[in-house]
């Protein structure tokens, strides 16, 4: 089997790729203008007509889409085709307004799964492999995306979903899994559990892992590689564009190749919106070139990274992006879940607390931790520890319900949360991601 899933694309010359992109872009802009009223209005406001877009060189003329647009257009406003042509939705975990619901036609699902298939082949996957998918299944794109990719490659697919780690290891041993797909923090946890069970990497057959959906460091990569006896590869994607597989790492492990025949990437200055030349650090923007149901043009990911077309030893010519180095908004990714501080604030206010709070994110034993400190108000105070402990627990539960992750809640005295210019410092992210 080839070391590429679609060599004609993955190793195409830059000119060939550009020709594909030009043709698809012109068609896609027309499709969106005709079918998506919301975006048509944005184009009209900017005075851009579909015929103004003749090639990728004209891309900068198009208006941006942001998460705020997705919120305004929720749920159907950005739909590019009749609902009867759609076969699937996937969604982020956010609450209404923050939640992204993406629609897929069968062709959209196929192209997404092909992207994931490229990622699996890039780590050495073939139809002789056993691919254990330990990403969550359901609305989250991780499980369904890699599951579909694994099918396309012809791997024997183990749709484990996440959790029940001892059972994961049991299946891994009994069915000789060779590839594992999950979040990096879960991979690290599986590694620890393996050790706790008295096993070593020699007791399993894994050779590669595809890990994404949350930020992770080179240090974590080395830890995971050692604890599971594998090579660990990064994968990137977002629900807005389809899910994992927008870009993927190859054997060189020096950044992720973007499937740019489907997702056209730009780097912009997050302040001015100006397009920056290759090699500049800035905000990543994606244009879906051939998605039918949810065809986002110039979607601002808020992820900060660098693009490079430097020759890659794997032979792929697809442009590479670095791991995201940060965000141009205040979104945090905690255990694979997108978290906006405002979501936590909403819960606090609803539960009768003040808006003076501090969110601290850290990483302990390769797992993200979330601590929320909030100033107690006089009417919430009680003379018994029991009452206050119950309040902490109730608040932790309310946050868990909102975000799907368990925080540690700390009640603190009034005016103890540091304020800068009168405003509370709300987020401290202690995870060291730039090692």
């Amino acid at each position: 089997m080839s070391k590429y899933y679609q060599p004609e694309i993955e190793t195409a010359s830059v000119e060939e790729l550009r020709a594909i992109q030009n043709e698809k872009l012109v068609k896609q802009v027309k499709h969106v203008y005709e079918n998506v009223e919301y975006y048509r209005n944005l184009m009209d406001e900017k005075g851009v007509k579909p015929e103004d877009i003749k090639s990728v060189d004209d891309l900068h003329k198009l208006p941006f889409l942001t998460k705020a647009d997705l919120r305004d257009a929720y749920p159907y406003g950005l739909l590019g085709t009749d609902l009867k042509n759609c076969v699937r939705i996937q969604s982020t975990s956010g609450t209404t307004g923050r939640r992204v619901v993406a629609f897929y036609t069968q062709a959209d699902v196929d192209l997404w799964e092909e992207c994931c298939a490229r990622a699996i082949v890039a780590v050495g996957g073939t139809n002789e492999d056993v691919c254990q998918v330990a990403y969550g299944y359901g609305l989250f794109t991780g499980g369904p995306g890699l599951n579909g990719g694994s099918h396309k490659v012809g791997c024997l697919t183990l749709p484990m979903s996440s959790g029940n780690t001892e059972r994961q290891i049991q299946f891994m041993r009994d069915l000789h899994s060779t590839i594992i797909c999950c979040t990096p923090s879960y991979a690290a946890y599986i590694g620890e559990t393996l050790k706790e069970m008295g096993l070593t990497p020699d007791d399993i057959d894994l050779k590669a892992g595809i890990f994404g959906a949350e930020p992770w460091t080179e240090e974590m990569r080395r830890d995971i590689e050692k604890s599971l006896g594998i090579k660990a590869y990064d994968i990137y994607g977002l629900t807005e564009t389809s899910g994992p597989g927008v870009s993927f790492e190859c054997e060189e492990q020096t950044g992720m190749h973007i499937n740019e025949d489907h997702f056209l990437a730009e780097i912009i200055d997050p302040e001015t919106g100006e397009v920056l030349p290759e090699g500049s650090k800035g905000e990543l923007v994606f244009t879906s070139l051939d998605k039918e149901a949810f065809p986002l043009l110039r979607y601002r990911t808020r992820d900060i990274c660098v693009l490079s077309r430097k020759k890659c030893s794997c032979g792929r010519t697809l442009i590479k992006m670095t791991k995201p180095m940060g965000r141009s908004d205040d979104m945090l990714i905690i255990r694979g879940v997108n978290v906006f501080p405002s979501q936590i604030e909403t819960v606090l206010l609803k539960e009768g607390y003040s808006a003076n709070y501090l969110i601290e994110v850290d990483r302990a034993n390769n797992t993200d931790t979330l601590d929320v400190s909030v100033e107690l108000t006089p009417d919430q105070f009680s003379d018994t520890v029991k009452d206050l402990a119950a309040k902490e627990k109730a608040l932790a539960n309310a946050i868990k319900t909102m975000l799907g992750i368990n925080p540690k809640v700390h009640l603190v005295a009034p005016k103890t949360i540091t304020r800068s210019e009168g405003k509370a410092v709300r987020v401290i992210d202690k995870r060291k991601l730039h090692d």
């Binding site: 107690l376 108000t377 006089p378 105070f381 009680s382 003379d383 018994t384 520890v385 029991k386 206050l388 402990a389 902490e392 700390h410 009640l411 603190v412 005295a413 009034p414 005016k415 103890t416």
Partner: protein, 140 residues
């Protein structure tokens, strides 16, 4: 028959208790009894003092979170088993005790402070067993 207890929220951090007690001293509040309940994050300082109204206002003014609770002060004799007897009386009356601590003054003698779920029932039960409970004035 009850006395006023002031509870103060204190963060479980170095120096916070010293800070609060210094504040109390600087405001000429004379502590008669004190107990601290603590968790990993916070503590509750509970105090009995001669002028709870003034003390509570001063603490609030100083930015502390406080609450005033009516608690029972039961006279206790200096003999083995006297605390057990009081608790048995309360237990027999189905009174739930949240916490208790000791109080001693040269003028009034020894008392145990009880925070219970129902002061009236508890006071009546203690009176029935011949155990004296104090009012604020009795203690100072």
């Amino acid at each position: 028959m009850s006395v006023k207890q002031i509870s103060v929220f204190i963060e479980n951090k170095k120096g916070k208790l010293a800070e609060a007690t210094r504040f109390i001293a600087d405001h000429n509040i004379n502590l008669r009894a004190l107990s601290i309940a603590d968790t990993q994050d916070f503590g509750i300082l509970r105090i009995i003092c001669d002028d709870p109204k003034m003390a509570d206002a001063a603490l609030k003014d100083g930015g502390y979170i406080t609450t005033v609770t009516d608690v029972l002060a039961a006279a206790i004799s200096d003999t083995p088993g006297s605390l057990a007897s009081i608790l048995e009386v309360l237990s027999d009356a189905n009174v739930v005790v949240e916490y208790t601590y000791a109080f001693n003054s040269s003028k009034a003698g020894a008392y145990m402070i009880f925070r219970v779920d129902d002061n009236q029932v508890a006071a009546a039960a203690l009176a029935g067993a011949g155990i004296k409970t104090a009012n604020q004035e009795d203690l100072f």
